[in-house]
Every structure is written in C-alpha cells, then in structure tokens.
C-alpha cells in the first residue's frame, strides 16, 4: 500500500513550486498519519460540464483556445490566478481535473483518498437530459467510504450560469435531491461489483436533502468561460488555508 502511494506521489509531481520539505512532510504524513492536511481539490463531474475550462480559468485566468473531451486528468499545483496580486504568503492549491467520461471513472477512485475537498461540476444549461447521469455519479461519490468517513466537504457547482437559459442553482439542487432519493430506493440492496456503495444516504422514510449528508455539501454557481469563479475560489480558500 505505501509503495503504491509513493509511486502515485512520484508520478503526480507536476513541478511548479513544490518545495522539498513539503514533499518530505507530506510523504511522512501519508505513512504516519492517515489524515494529512492535504491541499488537493478534485474537480469531478460529467463529461462536458466544463471542468477543464474551470481548471484553466483558475490557473491562468482564461480558458485559452478551448477544450475537448479530456482523456487524462489535468493536474497542477499553483496559486489561484486571481490571487497572484495579493501580498503575503499564499499556499498553493493542488487541483486535479478528473475526466468525466464514464470509461475513465476508475481514475477518480484512485485520487479520492488524497483529497481535501471535491467540486462536483454540473452543466446548468443542459441539465435535464443529463440529470439522471449526474445524480448517479454524485450518488456514487457521496456514498464512497472515504468521503463519508472523512466528511470531505463538497461543492456542487452549477457551471455555465452565464447563459440565459441556464437553470438556477436552487432548481438544480432540488432536482438532484429528488433523483438521489429515487436512487436510494433502487440501490439500497444492491452492491455492484466494481463500485461498492458502502453507505446509504439520508434518513429512511424522509425525502433526501443534502443537509442530511454527514459531510458538508454546498451549492454554488459559476461560469468558466466568462471567469465568474469567485464562489469556487472561496470554497477552495476555505479548505486550503495558508
């Protein structure tokens, strides 16, 4: 187990400004303490919801020429672009954008143990056709043992909010809660062979709401293309304190 983590650390080192001591400390922490003060945040969500755009927006302040479906995770440790001007010591954030394509889902499982928080990106423009798929993915993440035990905070981000026909975050929240409620019923007895739903959500007998989750779940809006990412940055800063 420990060797694997070593290898993962080694491969993941996209060297920007990770000091040796940070490295050494985090490695030690991994072996000695299970709960290290990690600064890793994951960007997850369905394919096409805007994760890669958000990643580059947070890192460079613009999505450059555009994006296509990701085949591999985007990994970077950096200080948020909007904070570059600020004075004072800023702790760099380790952000990982996990591809949303269903064939690449197992990658998320590898990265969850190291994360301090998860941002689940939802496409508010094209929401209803993908509502079920998004709810299933969200349900799978919320029921993972690691998330439940560590109470990893989660942000449900309604992306593409700049468009006129985008749904509001309240609407999306309610829809997701309804879908997850239905999923609870159909999934409670089954355990699929590859993704084990270790826990069930919510209180039996009551409708599901995000407030029933043991970890903190909040909802926010953003727009990756125009750069309206203040709520995201707030979430990140709360988790990764300098």
């Amino acid at each position: 187990m420990s060797r694997k983590k070593w290898a993962v650390q080694l491969n993941r080192c996209d060297v920007t400004s990770v000091g040796f001591e940070e490295w050494g400390v985090s490695l030690l922490n991994v072996r000695v303490l299970r709960r290290s003060k990690s600064n890793t945040i994951l960007l997850a969500g369905l394919s096409g919801s805007g994760k890669t755009v958000l990643f580059y927006q947070l890192r460079d302040g613009s999505p450059h020429l555009g994006t296509v479906t990701s085949m591999e995770p985007n990994d970077g440790t950096f200080v948020l672009h909007s904070e570059l001007q600020k004075k004072g010591k800023l702790k760099p954030v380790h952000l990982i954008d996990v591809p949303g394509h269903s064939r690449l889902r197992p990658k998320l499982d590898e990265l969850l143990p190291h994360s301090a928080g998860v941002i689940f990106v939802v496409d508010s423009l094209d929401f209803l056709p993908n509502c079920r798929a998004a709810a299933e993915y969200l349900y799978d993440i919320l029921t993972k043992a690691i998330i439940v035990k560590r109470r990893t905070p989660m942000l449900i981000l309604c992306n593409k909010a700049d468009k006129v026909t985008a749904h509001s975050k309240e609407f999306i929240r309610k829809q997701l809660e309804k879908e997850i409620d239905k999923l609870r019923a159909s999934r409670s007895a089954i355990s699929t062979a590859d993704i084990a739903n270790d826990f069930t959500l919510g209180i039996p007998g009551e409708g599901f709401t995000f407030s029933q989750c043991r970890n903190k779940v909040t909802v926010a809006e953003s727009s990756g293309l125009t750069g309206e990412v203040s709520q995201v940055e707030q979430f990140i800063r709360e988790l990764v304190k300098p």
Binding site: M1, T52, V68, R103, R187
Partner: protein, 624 residues
C-alpha cells in the same frame, strides 16, 4: 483541402488550431468512440454531423512522450494523400516548440503553412511519378497510381490536389455503393478484396470502423492479392465469402399440427391447477445481490511484486537494457515494444480472446506507448503490462449506466412497461437466463411478464410456461408458428393492461448468417422498440464471438427502416461456470466488438446463478 488541424493535450486543452469552424463536434466524437475505445491504431475515423450537414474524415497522430494529440479533419469526399505525412511533420516540429506551461503557440502558424506546402508538394510528386509509370499498365504490376486512380485504366489528368476530382468519380461509385448497402467509399474495381475484409457497419460506435481513407500502402497489399476485377463490388464478394460458410437453411415448415397435439402433455397438468409444482419463489438471494469477494489491495500488491521479480527472460543486450531502464531515458520504439506485445498477445489468446481483437488491442497499446520515455527503474515489459491493464480496464468499464432497476423505475413513472429482448444464436441459454433475470427482478418487487416469442422451437413455449408457473408470473404466448413480432406487440399491450413493469421477450436462436431469420429479428425489434436489446453469448465461444456480434449488429443496422437503428445494448454472458477460471477472454472480445457492456453473467442452471461482472478480477485473470 484540410478543414482543420488541431493540437491538444491529453488532458483536453487545445494548444493550437488552424482552419474553419467545424459543424457538430467531430473531435469529441473521435475521442469518445475511437481513442477511448482503444481503437487508436485505426487509420481514420469518419464522422457525420447531425442533420447531415457535413461528413468529415479524421486522422490523428500521438506524441506519447509529451502527451499531445494531433488531429487533421477534412471533408470525407476528399482523399488527401498527404495528411499522414503532414501529421508526422507537424508532430516533429511542434515537439521542438512545445513547453509544458506554455499555452499559446501563434508563431506555429507560419511553420505549419510551410509544412503544409511541403507535404502537398511531396504528394504531388508521388502522384506525377505514378502516373508517368502507369502507361504500361498490367495487373499485378506496380503501376497502379495513387489517389487519382478511381477506375483503373482511366487516364486522368490530375491537376491540383486529389480533392476536386472526386465529384466526377462519385457517380460511377454511387451505383455500386447502393448495391453494397455500405455507405461511403470510393469505388475501385480492385478494391473489393480489401473491402470484403472490412466489416461494414453503420453505427459509429459498433464494430470495426471502415477503413476508407485511401492509403498507398493498402493498395500495395491489394496488388499482392492479384488484381481480381469483379464488377459486382464489395457486396458480391462478401456474399461469396459468406455463402460457403453457411448453406442456405432448408424450408422450416414441419408438418407439425398432428404431432403437436399428440406430444403436448402439459395441458392436463395446467387444468389441474398448480399441481405438484408448488411455488419456487425462494431459492434464496440471487447472486446478483451478493457481495463479490473483491480481491483486496494486498492481493494486488502481491501480484505486482511477483511481476517485478520475474526474471528477465530477454537475453539480448541485457546489460544495456538494464542500464537504460535504470537511467530512464530510453525512448520507446516500436521495435522495443514488439516482443513484449507479442508475448502479451499470445497470453491473451491462450485466455480465449479472439485473435483479431488481441491484435487490435496490442496495436492500440503500441500506438499509445510509442515515443514515450521509460520511467526510471521500469522495464519495457512492465510498462507495456500497465498500459495494457489500463486499456483493458477502460474497455470493460461500461460507458453508460447498467443499473436496470433504475431504468425500470424510470419507465414505470412514464407509465409504460420496460421491454427487454433476448437475442442470440442457438443454444446459448436465452430461455434459462431469461428465467434467472425474471427471478432477480421479482426479488426486487418488480412485476414481470414473460413473452414467448420463440414460436419455432418445439417445447420453447412450454418451457417458458413452466418457468412462469414456478415463478408465479403471467406469461403471454400464442403457441407456435406465429409471427414473433406480432406476438411481442400484443404481449406489450397486455402488459400495459395488467400493469406489469417489465416484459421479458424470448426469441428463437438464429445463426448470424441466416438472412431471413435476421430480417425477422430486425422486424421484431423495430416494431416494438424495446428498451434493452440483450445479446446472449456463451463464454465458451472463441473467435466466433466477434463474428456473431458484428453480424448481429450489422443486420440490425442494415435492415431497420429508421436512420438511428437500435443496436445491441447489453451482453449477457452465459455458462461462465463451465469455463476454467483462466479462459475468460470471450467477455473481452464481445465487449470490444460491440461496445456494449456486460450486464449479467450466468454461472449455473438454477435461478440464483446470475451475477454481475467483476471487472478487476477479469482483467487480472486475463493478464496473469
């Protein structure tokens, strides 16, 4: 000319692009249905924009070391020879300019235009050279020209790129095209041989894609087969190939009627009511709901250690390769990969994976590893092993949800029954597994109804009737010698009336080459529009799995009236208990060929023997 050329990272960021805006989203389609499906060794990918406004061909190249992908998009009617050449040149040049953190490469425009001119000039030269040597044209000789050769023997003054000429060519081609039933493609009397090898499939995501982009090397392969000029085109050749394999089925009408009443013993039992057959209901929990004893991480680590400690069998250049692997600076070449890949391919084949699938997989892994830097302290074989493992995991992971219960609930809300059709060849276990699925659904409090649309095989209806009685569920049957499509339609109406949530439709087994039966099946599916078309395949099958699935998909696509044909949505793997745990390759072949996930695995003959596929353990067994 080229519509667009894109350079993007594997993580999804576009680094550089040049060209017109494209209609639809061909790049995303390429990634989803080709590169992520481990078909990256194919020559080209075809994309039809929705609403039929454009048809593109896409070609790509990888730079595995830097993690970049280069894609060229052009109109399908054009046949640009220089694209491969251009992609290779662009890759070379761009790797020089590339820096990991840099995101804008505007200065590359100039370099690109230069490269494009050069590539076009080179292609022009080759064409002129070939044309000049074409005068003494003889079959089998090396004089058949490149892109400009539409009909052999037709002299063509080719000016400019091969692009403009295709219009005049399209027409003689079109006639033959409709014959084939295969869409797109430029016709060439010599081509039928190669086309006969390519499986023609409509759906972009199923089966092997058509290799239509003209490649000079392909032509040379063709020539070695001898220029057999058949005028009937690809279709005739394919039919000729199929014919010897399967003799046309004889007339199926048996004079059944007198014997049926004589042999039909079940009726008296029915009249008596339940009789000795008391409810089966509880044989216990179906294995679907039991926890799989998933191998824990510790086991995984053991395997890793064993692998790493395996003695290095390569004798040649052992010391230098060890040095290189320690220093970690070696660039992987195709020649380095070949022995490791060959070993892997053989191993896969001993596990009962179809030969062509193993071949394609190895090619795809090779494409994704070529040019990559070896990590330090790793050997070539272990890199290849990890890459192959990832690839297998990717293929077997379903790309859409296989949660049937959720789908059933969704259909229930919409007020209609959820329809599942079981198709497959003879004797794979459709009826048995249908009963198992019914049992499992019943355990989850869902109302199931059976529809006996196998009106051919003697005893099929009685078999289902017995199952229905044991499970205490309604069955809709109309006896024998009726049109299965109509029976299914009426069954669904009956289900709506008595509020059944799910209708399981049993069909007769049929060989994939049997044209009239496949047509009947297609009619059944199109008439009733089921929610799930489940292909039942047995785990014992070897190379035939590929053939079965491609032909089933192809016939379903060809014979449907609507443009978006219903294809196979899921696979049910049966007789898993009969194979030694080591030979599980059939699952991989089937999934690769059809793109459909394995939804159930049948592992025995009693009601509870139904389980889900454990992907990690299969991958582990395949690569052991």
């Amino acid at each position: 000319m080229l519509e667009q050329l894109l350079i993007f990272t594997r993580g999804g960021l576009i680094l550089w692009e040049l060209g017109n805006a494209l209609k639809g989203s061909p790049i995303d389609a390429l990634i989803r249905s080709c590169l992520l499906e481990e078909r990256s060794a194919d020559a080209a990918f075809h994309y039809d924009a929705p609403a039929g406004c454009a048809a593109y061909t896409l070609k790509w190249a990888f730079d595995n070391d830097l993690g970049l992908v280069f894609v060229a998009v052009y109109q399908r009617i054009l046949h640009l020879l220089y694209v491969d050449d251009l992609l290779a040149a662009v890759r070379r040049e761009f790797s020089r300019v590339y820096e990991p953190k840099r995101t804008s490469y505007d200065d590359f425009d100039e370099t690109f235009r230069q490269l494009q001119k050069e590539a076009e000039a080179r292609a022009e030269e080759i064409r002129k050279f070939k044309q000049a040597g074409r005068a003494p044209a003889a079959p089998g000789k090396k004089q058949v020209p490149g892109a400009a050769s539409r009909g052999s023997g037709k002299q063509r003054s080719s000016g400019g790129g091969g692009s403009g000429k295709d219009e005049s060519d399209g027409d003689p081609g079109k006639g033959r095209r409709s014959e084939n039933g295969s869409s797109k493609g430029h016709e060439n009397e010599i081509k039928p041989n190669s086309r006969a090898q390519n499986v023609v499939v409509h759906g972009k995501e199923n089966g092997a894609p058509q290799v239509e982009a003209f490649d000079v090397s392909k032509l040379q392969k063709l020539r070695s087969k001898g220029a057999k000029k058949t005028d009937t085109g690809g279709g005739g050749c394919k039919a000729a190939k199929a014919e010897p394999k399967k003799i046309a089925k004889k007339n199926r009408v048996w004079d059944d009627s007198p014997s049926e009443s004589r042999l039909d013993f079940t009726d008296p039992v029915d009249d008596r009511g339940e009789g000795p057959e008391i409810v089966v209901a509880d044989q216990g929990e179906s294995m679907m709901d039991k926890e799989e004893i998933v191998s824990s991480d510790s086991e995984g680590e053991e395997d890793e250690e064993v692998r790493n400690e395996k003695p290095d069998t390569k004798k040649k250049g052992w010391f230098s390769s060890m040095l290189q692997s320690i220093s970690g600076n070696a660039l992987l070449e195709k020649s380095d990969l070949r022995p490791a890949l060959k070993a892997l391919k053989d191993r896969l084949m001993t596990k009962n994976v179809a030969e062509e699938i193993a071949e394609k997989l190895c090619e795809s892994v090779a494409t994704s590893l070529e040019g990559k830097k070896l990590g330090s302290f790793t050997r070539v074989s272990s890199t290849v092993q990890t890459a192959m493992e990832e690839a297998l995991l990717r293929i077997l992971t379903p790309k859409r949800s296989i949660d049937i219960l959720r789908d059933v609930h969704a259909a229930k809300e919409q007020g209609r029954p959820y329809i599942v059709v079981f198709v497959g060849v003879n004797g794979v276990g459709k009826s048995t597994n249908l009963a198992k699925v019914a049992y499992w659904l019943l355990q989850h409090k869902i109302n199931v109804m059976l529809a006996a649309c196998d009106t051919f095989r003697s005893g099929a209806v009685e078999q289902l009737r017995t199952h229905a009685r044991r499970l205490q569920i309604p069955i809709f049957e109309k006896g024998y010698e009726k049109d299965p499509a109509i029976v299914a339609k009426e069954a669904i109406q009956e289900a709506k009336r008595n509020n059944s949530d799910v209708v399981l439709v049993d069909t007769a087994g049929r060989m994939q080459d049997n044209e009239p039966l496949m047509r009947a099946l297609s009619k059944l599916i199109n008439l009733n529009n089921p929610d799930l078309v489940l292909f039942v395949g047995e785990a014992l099958v070897g190379n035939d799995a590929v053939d079965q699935l491609t032909k089933f998909n192809q016939k379903l696509a060809d014979l449907s009236m609507v443009p978006n044909a219903r294809l196979i949505d899921g696979i049910l793997l049966t007789k898993f208990d009969t194979i030694d745990d080591k030979v599980v390759g059939a699952a991989l072949s089937m999934v690769y060929v059809s793109g459909a996930p394995v939804m159930f695995v049948g592992c025995g003959q009693s009601y509870t023997d139904l389980k889900k596929l454990n992907i990690k353990s299969i991958v582990k067994t395949l690569l052991k």
